[in-house]
């Protein structure tokens, strides 16, 4: 194995992450190459120097800040989400829709049509003159009208002539 090829495996060798075959090849190369052996040792030293940097702890307010930001996050609402949140609304809306469709497609009432066709015209006329009829009692008992001469009918005039 060449020194160049060894480079890509060097850290894996130090970490102990090489496959068994790669490990054996590496050890064989190092046994024959003092330069690579020095480099492996120096890389090991670098790795142990990096271990000397201590860890920092997040500040006491870190969690509080994250939670506050999450609490301030807008709640994402899908267009259908209100259905899940309010099943009663869904049931009521469905029933209203069904009722509307049922009323819209209901067959017409044949008896009512027949009565209009049959021509109970007096009833219709009565309905149309309803305001006048409502005043009938007033007019019947209206005193000035009682003083007026009675209208003469055709039958009455023929009787007088006889």
């Amino acid at each position: 194995m060449s020194c160049t090829r060894m480079e890509s495996r060097l850290l894996g060798y130090i970490d102990g992450r090489l496959k068994e075959k790669e490990q054996r090849e590496m050890e064989k190369h190092l046994a024959a190459c003092p330069a690579c052996t020095v480099r492996v040792n120096e890389f090991r030293s670098v790795s142990s120097l990096l271990d000397e940097l201590p860890q920092i702890e997040p500040s006491a307010a870190f969690d509080v800040r994250v939670r506050a930001r999450i609490a301030a996050e807008p709640v994402k609402q899908e267009w259908w989400s209100w259905l899940g949140a309010a099943p009663r609304v869904l049931v009521a809306a469905s029933m209203l829709l069904l009722a509307t469709v049922w009323v819209g497609h209901r067959p017409a009432d044949s008896t009512k049509v027949a009565s209009f066709d049959g021509g109970d015209e007096s009833q219709i006329m009565q309905d149309q003159d309803l305001p006048v009829l409502e005043n009938y009692d007033v007019l019947a008992n209206f005193e000035p009208l009682t003083d007026l001469p009675q209208p003469v009918s055709a039958d009455d005039s023929s009787e007088q002539e006889m």
Binding site: V46, L53, P54, I56, E57, F62, E73
Partner: protein
């Protein structure tokens, strides 16, 4: 038995806020540390970590466990960190040369170096601080993608497959990236490496 990350995330998707709190508790420290080492500013690192968690929460409805949760989490974090580093690069270059020398205590905020500190092991303490500063400086000098690769490989214990997905590159490209990064660190930290070699 503790629920896996994927199980927790699926529970979050189903509306369980408590599972999100568990994920937050599980990953806040590694995430803040990764981001701190990427951007070298504690406050900014925490802001970015918050943003990562918010993005995870926002994406809960569309979550599909097609990859490991950590791959997804650190991919978001890496993208945010790389954007932040690029955005603030010009600001960092404008830092005044006569700014006070500081000791960046990893346990807290940066504080001014107090040479007259009444510490019986002051010399040892200063040597240790100087070494840490040197290591941090060497990491800072790496190109952003190499830095992210080293941090994910060294501190997050992610395998090559995961890291290559996070960085959107092939595994062979990642190995090459890591090798170049370690080569740079080896040169930058040569005095410390030599000391380590002797001991």
């Amino acid at each position: 038995m503790a629920r896996t990350d994927v199980q927790l995330m699926l529970d979050v998707k189903a509306g369980d806020e408590q599972s999100f709190a568990l994920l937050l508790h599980r990953y806040r420290t590694p995430l803040v540390n990764f981001l701190y080492r990427m951007v070298r500013n504690r406050e900014q690192a925490e802001d970015l970590a918050q943003e990562v968690f918010i993005r995870v929460y926002r994406a809960r409805a569309d979550y599909v466990p097609s990859a490991k949760f950590t791959t997804w989490l650190f991919r978001i974090a890496t993208n945010l960190a790389l954007n932040s580093v690029r955005d603030t690069r010009h600001q960092r270059m404008e830092v005044s040369l006569d700014a006070p020398v500081t000791v960046d205590s990893e346990e807290g905020d940066e504080r001014p170096l107090d040479v007259a500190e009444k510490n019986p092991n002051i010399e040892e303490h200063l040597v240790q601080q100087a070494q840490r500063d040197m290591i941090r400086h060497a990491i800072d000098k790496l190109p952003e993608k190499q830095r992210a690769a080293v941090l994910l490989h060294k501190y997050q214990d992610l395998d090559y497959g995961e890291i290559s997905k996070i960085l959107s590159c092939s595994q062979s490209a990642l190995k090459s990236l890591l090798f170049r990064a370690y080569e740079t660190l080896r040169v930058e930290l040569a005095p410390l490496v030599a000391l380590r070699g002797k001991s």
